[in-house]
């Protein structure tokens, strides 16, 4: 598969050469999945998160979900108010309420992917969130 010699991407011209390959991969993925079926992972990326290692956690999630063939969108969000438990991330599985995990390192992230994202099996480290009541009061 692919070219025998791996050349490094150094310029936009190099990137352009990869475009068709990327387009066909994306087309393939879109055929097999519906957008509603996508997993969304939001990593809290404010000062508290960044200082605790959320950049590494986010990069790990992007790379690993891709490697494990899970069609997911990994994005960043602001501080959710759980600075004591950073890095935190929120997982949105299609058809499920969002779940927030705290103290996430690579090991925990791996567990979240394998147990929760793949099998909807809850993992230790959930931060109880009640979007309807407590948070609303705090926002006042």
């Amino acid at each position: 598969m692919g070219e025998p010699i791996m050349t490094k991407i150094k310029s936009l011209a190099d990137l352009k050469k990869k475009k068709e390959d990327l387009q066909s991969k994306i087309a393939l993925r879109e055929k097999s999945d519906t957008p509603e079926g996508r997993v969304i992972v939001k990593v809290a990326m404010a000062t508290c998160g960044i200082a605790s290692g959320s950049k590494e956690v986010m990069e790990y999630m992007v790379d690993e979900l891709d490697k494990r063939n899970i069609d997911a969108i990994v994005t960043q969000t602001g501080c959710m108010g759980y600075c004591y438990a950073e890095p935190t991330l929120e997982v949105n599985l299609p058809g499920h309420d969002p779940v927030v995990y705290g103290y996430v390192d690579k090991k925990k992230a791996d567990e979240i992917i394998e147990k929760y994202i793949k099998n909807q099996e809850l993992v230790d480290g959930i931060i109880p969130v009640n979007y309807q009541t407590i948070e609303k009061d705090k926002e006042e």
Partner: protein
Amino acid sequence: MKTLALHILDIVQNSITAGARNIFIHIEEDTRENRYLIRVGDDGCGMTEDTVRRVTDPYYTSRKTRKVGMGISLLKQHAEQAGGHLKIRSEVDKGTVVEALFEHDHMDRQSAGDIAGVIVLLVGSNPEIRFQYTHHRNGGTYKMDTNEVKEVLEDVPLNDPEVRQYLKEMIRENLGEMGAL
């Protein structure tokens, strides 16, 4: 914050929160003049003079989820510890420019860290924002503009995992060539 790259990641979040459509990240390294300058600018909502005065206070924040705002004050502290300064220029409805200066060879200047990784993380998470990243080092220059990247990629999204990998590689290769890694 362990590295300058993480500081950049942190202060750009302020630009995003301010509703910026255009963000520039400008790094200027000059080892002969012993300067390491980071400038982040945006066209977000800006701040009043009064707010600008208060943002370096760690107990000031505009958010409601917590009562402290360490980002800018930490950057100021780190810049001043490394013989530099922090300056903020802002105008309501126009935008904000944050500038942090460090002495390049100062013992207390944090290492640059993974700048390529931070740029790609920001670009991939905010594909609707135009990022212009410029890095000068001793006469060498590397520029990346997400508008140009988008033109090349057409319908391939910036948050595609493989695209992220390629962009990171592209920035790292160019920074490496300049001796800025």
